[in-house]
Amino acid sequence: MKVHEYQAKELFARYGIPVPPGTVVATAAEAEAAAARVGKPVVVKAQVLVGGRGKAGGVKIAKTPAEAREKAAAILGMDIKGETVKKVLVTEAVDIAREIYVAVVMDRRAQKPLVMASAEGGVEIEVTAKENPSAIQRVWIDPLYGMHPFQSRQLATALAGDAELAKPMADIIQKLYRLYDEVDASLAEINPLVVTPDRRVLALDAKLNFDDNALERHPDFETLRDLDAEDPGEVRARAEGLSFVRLSGNVGCVVNGAGLAMATMDLVKFYGGQPANFLDIGGSSRPEKVIAALSIILQDTSVKSILFNIFGGITRCDDVARGLVTAFDQMNLKLPVVVRLTGTNEDEAREILRAVPAIHPAETMDEAVKKAIALAA
C-alpha cells in the first residue's frame, strides 16, 4: 500500500525525522489560508500516489498566499498519469544547499533490508544510480540486530562531508530504518534530504510503501489508504477479495491465480488482441465471486468479450461449471463469454456449459484466447 507524501511526513515526524511544517488542503481557498499561516514563500505540491508529479507540473512555488491560491487552483483537479489531484500539500519553501538521497528497501537478492544513500540526491538519482553507481552507498541490515548505530554513522560520515552534519544525518538514517522496520514498510525513501544554507537537515519529500501482508497488525494504517486515488474497480475488487488492475483493451479476463492471469493476458496480446484487465479470482470459483468479478469488469464499457480461464486443480471442473452457469443466469449477461475450464472432469464441465448459449467453451488456453479475441472484434 502506498501513502501520500503528507501522510508519510506525519509518520516521519512521529519518529523524530525533521520535516518542514505543512498543511494538506483540498481547495484553493484553504491553500491560501495555509500559506498565510506559514507566513513565508511556500511550495504547493500535488498529493498523488504516482511518481513524476514534478515534471507533470504538480509542484509549484508560491511567494504569497494569493499566489498559493492560484497555484493550488491550477494543480487541484490536474490529471497526473491517470490520477486526479484531490489534495495539495502547502509547505514552507526551504532554501537548499545540498540534496541527499536516503532510502530503506527490501533487497530480495540479499534477503535483507538495504539502506542506500547518496550525496547526489534529487530527481536525477536514477540516472546517478545507472551512470555512477559508486556514488550510491549501500549498507545491508541484519534484521535480527536492526541497524547498528555504527552503520548509520558510516553512511552519514560519507554523506555529510563534515562532522557537524554527520550527527543529525546519522540520527535521521537510524530513525528511518527504525520506522521502516516497525511499521512493516516495504520502502521508506527521502529524496531529497536537504541541507539548508543555515545547516539544518530536513526531509523535503517522503515516500512510504507498506507491506500489504502486514496491514492486519497495523489496523490504524487502513485509514491512510486513499480510496479516491485508486481505480474504483480496484477498490471494489479488494473488498471482494479479488485482485484487479484495469487496462485499456477490450477482452475482459477472469482467471484463477496471478501467474496464470498474467500468462493469459500475455496470450491475448500474443494473438493480436488487447486485454481489458488483470483479474485474479483466487482459489475459489463460488458463484458470488464470479458475479463480483463480472460486475467489476462490466463497469468498463470498452469490454466486448469476456474470457474465463480457470484451472480447476483439485476442485472438480463440473462443480465449477455449475457455479459459472448459476452466476451467468443471475447476471443476465449480454456479452459473449469464452470459458476454458481445465482439470478433473473437464469434459463433463464443457457439456454443462453448452447449456448456456452465451458461453463459448474452449479446450485449451490458446483456443479460448483466440475465440475471445474474435468475439471482441
Binding site: 537478492r109 542506500m116 512493516d184 502486514a214 496471478a258 501467474g259 498474467m262 496470450l267 484451472f311 488456453m365
Partner: protein, 294 residues
C-alpha cells in the same frame, strides 16, 4: 528429490478447512502422513487414523516426522515454520499466503541455524509422481511419472504447464512451486541445484514471473552449473508498469525486472524461452531429444 517414500509428514493446521482437505488429498495420493498438529487438539485423531498433537515437538517425538506442511493462518505461519525447524523437521513446506515480509526475514536465519530447508511460503508445494508423494496442494490428477523437473513461482500457471507436459506424454520427476513472495526459503538457484543433482530428472522447465531478479540470477547459474537442458517461460509480458517501488526498486536490482529483461537474460545464456505456454513442450522435446515419453 526432497520428498520420497521415506517422507514422514506432519500437517500443521490439520484441523483447519484447507489443512484437513489437503491432508486427505495427500494421503489419498500415497503420502505417509504420520501426524497432525493443532494446539489444543492434542490427543484427538484426524479421520480416525492420524494422531493429532499440540506441538510439532510432540509430533516429532512420537512419530519421527521429518517433513512438515503448513496450512495455518498468515499471522501464525512464521511461528509455525520456526516451531517445525526447532522440533528438528528437515523440510518445511509453507502453503500459507500473506505472510508479512518482516516475519520471513526472521524465519530465514532461524532455519539456517538449524539446517532446515523451507519451501515457500505462498506456494503450492511439491509433488513427486514417480514416488507418488505430494506435500502441498498440487493436483495429483494432472501429473504423470517421468523425468521432467518443473520449478515455478506461480500456482495455477504451474498446473497449466504440468498438465500440458502430461498431455504431451512428458512425465515429471518433481514439480516444485517455490512461491512468489519477496522472501522465500528455496529459490530458483536452490531448485536448479537440486534438479541438477537429481538422478530422476533429465530436463527442467522453469516458470518465472515479472519482479525481482531471481530469473536473471537463475540464468547466470544455469550457464555456470547446470548441464541438464532447461526451458524457461516468463509470465507478465503485458503487465502494466507502476507496481515499481519508487526509485529504490530499480536501484537495488540494477534492472527493471520486466519480462523482457528476464527473457533476454535467458536467451543470452542460451536457454530456450517459450513465448507462450503451449510452446514449452516443443522446446523441451527439442532440448532433450532423448527424453522418455509415454
Amino acid at each position: 528429490m526432497l520428498i520420497d517414500r521415506n517422507t514422514r509428514l506432519v500437517v500443521q493446521g490439520i484441523t483447519g478447512r484447507d489443512g484437513s482437505f489437503h491432508a486427505a488429498q495427500m494421503a489419498a495420493y500415497g503420502t505417509q502422513i504420520v501426524a497432525g498438529v493443532t494446539p489444543g487438539k492434542g490427543g484427538t485423531k484426524f479421520e480416525n487414523t492420524v494422531p493429532i498433537f499440540d506441538s510439532v515437538h510432540d509430533a516429532v517425538d512420537a512419530t519421527g516426522a521429518n517433513t512438515s506442511v503448513i496450512y495455518v493462518r498468515a499471522p501464525f505461519a512464521a511461528d509455525a515454520i520456526c516451531e517445525a525447524a526447532d522440533a528438528g523437521v528437515r523440510l518445511v513446506v509453507c502453503i500459507t499466503e500473506g505472510v508479512p515480509v518482516r516475519d520471513m526475514l526472521r524465519v530465514v536465519p532461524f532455519l539456517k541455524e538449524r539446517s532446515t530447508r523451507l519451501v515457500g511460503p505462498n506456494c503450492p508445494g511439491m509433488i513427486a509422481p514417480n514416488a507418488r508423494v505430494k506435500v502441498g496442494i498440487l493436483p495429483a490428477s494432472i501429473v504423470k511419472p517421468g523425468s521432467v523437473g518443473v520449478v515455478s513461482r506461480s500456482g495455477t500457471l504451474t498446473y497449466e504447464v504440468v498438465y500440458q507436459l502430461t498431455r504431451a506424454g512428458m512425465g515429471q520427476s518433481t514439480c516444485l512451486g517455490i512461491g512468489g513472495d519477496p522472501v522465500i526459503g528455496t529459490n530458483f538457484i536452490d531448485a536448479l541445484r537440486l534438479f541438477q543433482a537429481d538422478e530422476e530428472t533429465e530436463a527442467v522447465v522453469l516458470i518465472g514471473e515479472i519482479g525481482g531478479s531471481d530469473e536473471e540470477e537463475a540464468a547466470a547459474f544455469i550457464t555456470e552449473k547446470v548441464t541438464k537442458p532447461v526451458v524457461a517461460f516468463i509470465a507478465g509480458q503485458t503487465a502494466p508498469p507502476g507496481k515499481r517501488m519508487g526509485h529504490a526498486g530499480a536501484i537495488v536490482t540494477g534492472g527493471s525486472g520486466t519480462a523482457a529483461d528476464k527473457m533476454a537474460a535467458f536467451a543470452a545464456a542460451g536457454i530456450p524461452v517459450a513465448k507462450i505456454p503451449s510452446e514449452i513442450t516443443g522446446l523441451v522435446a527439442a532440448a532433450a531429444p532423448a527424453l522418455k515419453r509415454g
